[in-house]
């Protein structure tokens, strides 16, 4: 097997460096300070998150990645205000978060569309809750539905839609409130591979056109590299920030970049962090042979 020589994942082209400089000069929208979360269980206390610090700039796309059980979902639920941290605080525009609010929209893996509302009703929901008049809500909702390309399905109920369409409605619903931050908890995890690719490009497209900062949780390495400006890698047990990687792949992103040296370098680094060699699951299995000698699979 030939080893491909990959550049260091920290190497950035001048354009990419310039882009990151611009990004970092923008104001900080979301900040996590010394976040910690401890769950008490009958077996004692379990530390899910410990000493998490990071800041997200305006219109940044941040992916959070980590092995399963590392506390990714707990982190995003704390950011959303659905759970309270045991230690530390979350700041949004330098104000402390005390609970869920419309300035932090959220898209869940399980769609969570309201089954009794049509697509339009779902997208209007947040606007109605925040006190917009029905006529304003309706015209705003129409715009957002058009944005995710579902104008033809305005009057359909969620159960009539495919998974990808449902998630587009969920995105439109969250964006209709014009949130400062869009929190996405493995939003494409339940979709098949093809729909997922489609959704990823939809999301980038929408993100380009809307003033919104995105925090995106995933366990898919390629998805993280394809979407993110920076990738926050979480270590498991306890959940800590292992590294904050600046993705060296230039924008606009295309699928051709999947085999570009920068992309592969970043992927290799993530593999190292998340699947360290020697700790792969297959090595943990006992060696029990049920095949005959000379019958080996290559």
């Amino acid at each position: 097997m030939t080893q491909i020589e990959l550049p260091d994942y920290r190497l950035q082209s001048p354009e990419v460096t310039a882009r990151f400089d611009r990004l970092k000069s923008r104001p900080i929208v979301l900040e996590a300070k010394n976040l910690g979360k401890t769950f008490s269980s009958p077996q004692g206390e379990v530390i899910a998150l410990e000493d998490i610090n990071f800041a997200v700039h305006r219109r940044e796309f941040l992916c959070v990645i980590g092995a399963s059980g590392c506390g990714k979902s707990t982190l995003i639920r704390i950011l959303a205000g659905l759970e309270t941290p045991s230690e530390g605080e979350v700041l949004i525009d330098h104000k402390r978060v005390t609970g869920p609010g419309p300035e932090r929209g959220m898209v869940f893996q399980a769609y969570t569309l309201f089954p009794w509302l049509t697509v339009r009703g779902n997208v209007m929901f947040g606007l109605k809750m925040t006190g917009h008049s029905p006529s304003v809500s309706e015209s705003e909702a129409r715009q957002w539905i058009a944005m995710v390309g579902l104008s033809k399905f305005e009057n359909a109920y969620p159960h009539q839609l495919s998974g990808g369409m449902k998630q587009r409605v969920a995105i439109a619903r969250a964006l209709a409130n014009q949130p400062r931050v869009l929190l996405m908890d493995e939003p494409f995890g339940a979709l098949d591979a093809q729909t997922r690719c489609q959704m990823q490009s939809y999301l980038l497209q929408i993100w380009r056109n809307v003033d919104v900062t995105i925090v995106f949780i995933t366990h898919d390495l390629e998805e993280a590299i394809y979407l993110a400006d920076r990738i926050l890698v979480l270590e498991a047990h306890p959940g800590r920030v292992e590294e904050l990687i600046e993705v060296p792949v230039p924008r606009p992103r295309t699928s051709e970049q999947f085999i570009s040296p920068e992309f592969l370098a970043a992927k290799q680094r993530l593999e190292e962090l998340i699947h360290p060699p020697g700790q792969t699951a297959a090595d943990k299995l006992p060696t029990l042979r049920l095949t005959q000698a000379g019958d080996d699979v290559e």
């Binding site: 219109r59 959303a80 205000g81 659905l82 609970g99 869920p100 609010g101 419309p102 932090r104 929209g105 869940f108 399980a110 969570t112 309201f114 089954p115 009794w116 509302l117 929901f125 947040g126 109605k128 809750m129 925040t130 715009q143 058009a146 944005m147 995710v148 390309g149 399905f153 359909a156 109920y157 969620p158 159960h159 009539q160 839609l161 495919s162 990808g164 369409m165 619903r173 969250a174 409130n177 929190l183 591979a193 093809q194 729909t195 690719c197 489609q198 990823q200 490009s201 939809y202 980038l204 497209q205 929408i206 380009r208 056109n209 809307v210 003033d211 606009p252 295309t254 699928s255 051709e256």
Partner: protein, 457 residues
């Protein structure tokens, strides 16, 4: 569909034609079984239904035409009457008959032995059972051959007896006069009858005819028509049910939302529902009098406690992530309640109430028995005591039919109220176009999602 498709496949559906066929069978088979038992004489039929009956000497139990007796008893019954007739004939031959006024009165009774048969043949109305002049004319008719009983016929043993008796009768008078009845004992008619099922299993046609008669001609009890009784019963069921909804739904929903209410109310409710509602009947009569109030409250007790538990469970089953999603969209607690909890549980709540309404119907009969009996139950009770089961069955079936069709209607109406719960997945699901290959990411994005500039960048 393939006709060779197997009927039995574990957890597999059937095609529409088979489903329709089986649904029809599900109702027709029990009906066919009922017909089989009723109309095939050699299946079961342990009784004899009397067409002609007679009084035995020295026995106080009296059977009249229309009564059911067991087959064994029927034999001894006939034998006893035959022996009685032999004695009469012997006495008559020996000339030592005990005559006089006693015999004359007995003879009047013996004449009436033909009444049942005459009514069945349509020669007498059912209220003419003791119209002796009319009965006398029928004796005359049968004896002279002017009247020939056909449905049912008079058997070969009884026809000579009628003629013999008529000879004696006509020798005294050609028309009925109590004082001109013979003073020598007439012969008894020998009991005759048809094999039949016990009176508690009337044949389908009897049930149908009696039911039709009672609904169109009013009540044999002569007070309220069956339709009025039905309205009374419906009032009691719905009264108890609606009262229960009025209190039970809010409490159930609150207990489902707030742990405070759940922990405060549910343990006692759980305990109370194990106490059978009918056990409270005397108490309810003492508290609310004997009219509708205790009946409605019995239905209430029987429904309410179940309702609180069922509805709190339904409310708790609302997908919690919907509440979280609504919160991230800016919903405040009050809005969560009115815009997420209520619309979210409504379809299931509706279904719960539908099932609980059926529950309320099951309390009806017990409820109507307490205090002053009313409604359909009073009718069932009274007719049942008189063993008029052909009148009871239509009412029981009516209750079933009303419950069944109400339920079917409500189930259908759920789809109208909550169109998004229709689970015809394969039909309504919008067919997803096969997605483009992953290599075309950029292209798909720009063609399908229109670029809308909302904010200046």
């Amino acid at each position: 569909m393939n006709p060779k498709e197997p009927w039995f496949k574990i957890r597999e559906g059937l095609n529409v034609r088979r489903v329709t066929f089986l649904t029809a069978c599900s109702f027709l088979l029990p009906l066919a079984l009922w017909c089989l038992v009723s109309y095939v004489p050699f299946i079961w039929h342990p009784d004899v239904r009397l067409e002609v009956s007679a009084d035995r000497a020295d026995v106080s139990t009296v059977y009249i035409a229309g009564d059911h007796v067991s087959k064994e008893f029927f034999g001894t019954f006939q034998e006893a009457i035959r022996n009685g007739n032999k004695t009469i004939l012997q006495d008559r031959a020996n000339g030592n008959e005990t005559g006089g006024l006693m015999a004359r009165r007995d003879n009047q009774k013996k004449l009436r032995q033909l009444a049942g048969l005459a009514i069945a043949n349509g020669w007498l109305r059912s209220n003419q059972r003791e119209d002796d002049s009319a009965i006398f004319e029928i004796w005359k008719g049968i004896a002279t051959g002017a009247l020939i009983p056909k449905a049912p016929p008079l058997n070969a043993e009884n026809l000579p007896i009628v003629r013999q008796n008529w000879q004696m009768l006509s020798s005294v008078s050609q028309s009925f006069d109590v004082r001109k009845l013979p003073e020598q004992p007439l012969l008894n008619l020998i009991p005759q009858g048809q094999p039949s099922n016990p009176s508690y299993l009337p044949a389908p046609h009897e049930v149908l005819l009696t039911g039709w008669h009672n609904f169109t001609n009013g009540d044999p009890l002569g007070q309220l028509s069956l339709f009025d009784r039905l309205l009374i019963s419906i009032r009691i069921v719905w009264g108890g049910f609606l009262l229960s909804c009025l209190v039970g739904v809010p409490i159930g929903v609150l207990a489902g939302i707030y742990s405070v209410f759940s922990k405060l109310l549910e343990p006692f409710t759980d305990f109370f529902r194990y106490m059978p509602a009918p056990a409270f009947s005397t108490l309810l009569v003492a508290a609310f009098g004997a009219d509708d109030a205790p009946k409605i409250s019995l239905v209430f007790i029987g429904t309410f406690f179940q309702m609180v538990l069922v509805i709190s469970k339904t409310t708790r089953q609302l997908d919690h992530s919907l509440l979280e999603a609504a919160q991230t969209l800016g919903a405040r607690p009050r809005q969560l309640f009115s815009h997420v909890v209520i619309p979210g549980i409504l379809p299931d709540l509706y279904n719960d109430l539908r099932i609980l309404l059926g529950w309320s119907w099951t309390w009806l009969v017990i409820a109507e028995l307490i205090g002053v009996k009313t409604g359909l139950t009073e009718f069932i009770e009274t007719q049942g005591r008189w063993r008029n089961f052909d009148a009871v069955f239509p009412v029981i079936i009516l209750i079933g039919v009303i419950g069944f069709f109400t339920d079917q209607f409500l189930a259908w109406f759920r789809g109208v109220l909550f169109p998004y719960t229709r689970t015809s997945r394969t039909k309504s699901k919008i067919q997803k176009k096969p997605g483009p290959p992953p290599r075309m990411r950029q292209a798909t994005a720009s063609t399908e999602a229109p670029v809308t500039e909302l904010t200046p960048t």
